[in-house]
């Protein structure tokens, strides 16, 4: 094996440890790519390996850091790759400091331990972001087998108040309206002679679901239960995206997709940095609108917003962002667990700003269990209007 091949394999191992999906197929492709180019040109080597090994834009920065570190350290072995810049790799984005940690771990030949690895003090750039923001991590007790079975049973009863959507795909069905010409002809050739027309009907399926869940201090009491709900719903149907927000927005869809609820929650708790802090609903919704709405609200998505509507920013800019969100999705459902009294009056500025822009408002008076949550979501919508 050549030194280059050994180096590429070593590099691939490091990337794998840092969390990129780099299988043997990719290693072979990377070697092929390096054979096709002039490997004395460091820039071209970088882009070539990038094209082969990176699969999504979000991985680019991680790859860049790993590349710079690795090909500097190993420049003795791979003589063809020059080492002009011996400087430390610089972060283009100061908020990407956790990446450095991942790279460190990957190079240190040890597996990341998962939770409890978070440093107590965060970099200054983040901590000084806002006085209202408190960064903390959260531990949830693990879920018992009984609870898991119960959650599964309850999920089967979840029936979001929105009809399934017709897709433009068909499946054979004797009651279908359309004639399935292909199936008919095949049947004719098979039996030899005329047969009844074969029919097909449209396939129906759930629309995509996007959940925006508030995890600020006022919602802390529900956090564990909500996360279990989100985990159950993510694993129950396809096309679910989950975002958590307090003072910032975190996409936890990948973390939630883990089958085991405890493992999934452990991953979520390490990736979310603003547990039980303040809420900036307007700002985080704005961030969602700008960065995510076009990516996850396609194909007629349904948005479920779980929040008590208490906003530290006093609702500033909230109405605009709610309106934008409302216009970008098929249906916007707001589930509000704050209300403990039957006579509900929208007093807080945040709530008043949000109410006119939701299709379906679900106040829950006593959200103490998964069962209550699912029941609240599954009841047919009342004719609730903002003025009521």
């Amino acid at each position: 094996m050549t030194a280059l091949a050994a180096n590429v394999m070593q590099f691939a191992r490091i990337l794998r440890r840092a969390g990129l999906a780099v299988g043997p197929g990719k290693v072979i492709a990377a070697l092929e790519a390096l054979q096709a180019i002039n490997i004395a040109d460091r820039e071209v080597v970088f882009y070539a390996l990038h094209a082969v090994l990176v699969e999504r834009h979000a991985q680019s920065e991680l790859f860049r850091l790993a590349f710079e570190r690795f090909w500097r350290a190993n420049s003795g072995a791979a003589q063809t790759l020059s080492l002009e810049d011996a400087a430390k790799p610089e972060l283009k984005n100061p908020l990407a400091k956790p990446l450095i940690r991942r790279i460190d771990e990957a190079f240190a030949l040890r597996r990341p331990k998962g939770e409890s690895e978070l440093p107590d003090e965060m970099p200054d750039t983040i901590a000084s972001w806002s006085a209202a923001e408190r960064l903390r991590t959260q531990d949830f007790e693990s879920m018992s087998a009984g609870e898991m079975a119960e959650a599964k049973r309850l999920m089967a009863t979840l029936h979001l108040p929105i009809p399934d959507v017709l897709t433009r795909r068909y499946r054979p069905s004797p009651l279908g309206r359309r004639v399935d010409a292909r199936a008919t002809l095949r049947a004719m050739v098979r039996v030899g002679g005329l047969i009844a027309l074969q029919r097909k009907r449209r396939i129906v399926r759930h629309p995509p679901l996007v959940v925006l869940c508030d995890i600020s201090g006022s919602m802390a009491a529900y956090a564990r239960m909500l996360l279990h709900f989100l985990h159950a719903v993510t694993n129950d149907r396809d096309r679910v995206h989950v975002f958590l927000f307090g003072t910032r927005l975190t996409n936890v869809t990948r973390e939630m997709a883990h089958r085991d609820p405890d493992e999934a929650l452990a991953r979520v708790t390490t990736s979310v940095k603003d547990w039980s802090g303040g809420t900036r609903i307007g700002q985080t919704l704005g961030e969602f609108n700008r960065l995510w709405s076009r990516r996850v609200l396609g194909q007629g998505a349904l948005v479920l917003l779980i929040s008590d509507g208490l906003d530290r920013d006093g609702g500033s800019g909230l109405a605009v962002e709610m309106q934008r969100l409302h216009r970008s999705c098929r249906r916007l459902i707001w589930l509000n667990p704050l209300l403990r009294y039957a006579a509900f009056e929208p007093k807080s500025a945040g709530i008043r700003a949000m109410l006119p822009h939701v299709d379906d408002f679900r106040p829950v008076h006593n959200l103490d269990s998964l069962a209550a949550l699912i029941a609240a979501l599954s009841t047919p919508p009342k004719a609730y209007t903002a003025a009521a």
Binding site: N38, Y47, H50, R56, H57, M188, V189, G192, P208, Q299
Partner: protein, 323 residues
């Protein structure tokens, strides 16, 4: 099943005439960049590298990026500079095999059965084989792209893949990894010469990893000011240096504003064109405000930019262009 080489009934008259010069594939990264430049496309180093690799390693190239950064254009320019046919598949939700790959010609099959009956031939195995032959197959873009083309393998553009749903993506896996298509009634068909495949996505949803894994991945970003000026010069040379520099400076300013939809490169080109039509030789506040709709496509964004921001942007752009 043994894959067979695909050679369906020879098509006549629908490919480019014989004399179209066929350009050889580029031999280096710099060659690739030069090739694209000849077609009026100004690539950056990252794109030239991944495109060169895609051509050399015969792998599909997956281009992702915001709307209007020139993803589709790569395929078009590539086809025209290489002198290859361009086979385009525009994706949409519900795109199925019958519109994307192939369809049986049911009326003709029906007719064949009736004729066989009239001629006294009953339904036997021969008829079954007959009506499931290439003669009764209607080719759609994907199957057409695997056919031999007179001037070399075509460029297959699978545009806006994120608009389809997952079932279609799953179907593409076979086409993109092995350049073959399985038709149950006939068998597996493999392209003699694999087409040059460009897949684009606007990222309105995440495309599955299994599909990305088969491709080379390239993220196209908004161009830097310098490259954008170069592109503008290549595409709309009559706009002149001064106006081009001002337009680019203004658009770059807009991209820094955290708008709901920042303008893409396509909007820059449209805008320059629009300003040419209006005989504007440089930016001023009134003209910019009158033409903001060419650059920004959301009312929220337009009302935010109108007024002070426009005023300041115009001043900055002029100052910048004067340097």
């Amino acid at each position: 099943m043994i894959p067979r080489l695909l050679n369906l009934s020879p098509k006549s008259g629908n490919s480019v005439p014989d004399h179209t010069p066929v350009t050889l594939l580029p031999a280096s990264v710099d060659d690739t960049a030069a090739l694209l430049r000849r077609g009026g496309y100004v690539p950056d180093r990252a794109l030239s590298t991944s495109l060169y690799l895609a051509l050399t390693l015969k792998r599909p190239l997956f281009l992702e990026g915001e709307a209007g950064v020139g993803k589709t254009e790569v395929a078009k320019v590539l086809a025209s500079t290489l002198g290859r046919d361009l086979v385009r598949l525009q994706c949409y939700e519900g795109l199925d095999i019958a519109t994307a790959v192939y369809e049986w010609n049911y009326p003709r099959q029906m007719m064949a059965i009736r004729l066989a009956e009239a001629a006294g031939r009953g339904h036997d195995g021969a008829l079954g084989r007959d009506i499931y032959s290439a003669e009764y197959l209607i080719q759609r873009p994907l199957l057409a792209a695997l056919q031999p083309h007179r001037n070399g393998a075509p460029v297959l553009l699978i545009d806006e893949l994120d608009r389809t749903d997952e079932p279609f993506e799953a179907f593409l896996l076979e086409v993109l990894s092995d350049y073959q298509i399985t038709i149950p009634e006939i068998g597996t068909m493999r392209a003699v010469e694999p087409p040059i495949v460009i897949v684009t996505s606007n990222r309105t949803r995440e495309v599955h990893d299994a599909l990305k894994r088969r491709c080379l991945y390239q993220w196209l970003d908004y161009p830097t000011a310098e490259r954008e000026r170069e592109i503008l010069k290549a595409r709309i040379p009559q706009a002149g240096d001064k106006l081009s520099a001002q337009v680019v400076a203004f658009v770059q300013m807009l991209r820094g504003l955290e708008l709901f939809k920042p303008p893409g490169l396509a909007e820059t080109l449209d805008w320059a064109q629009a300003l040419m039509v209006l005989d504007a030789s440089e930016l001023d506040r009134a003209t910019v405000e009158a033409t903001l709709g060419v650059v920004l496509k959301y009312q929220d964004d337009i009302s935010r930019v109108r007024g002070d921001i426009t005023q300041r942007g115009v001043e900055q752009a002029r100052k910048f262009a004067a340097q």
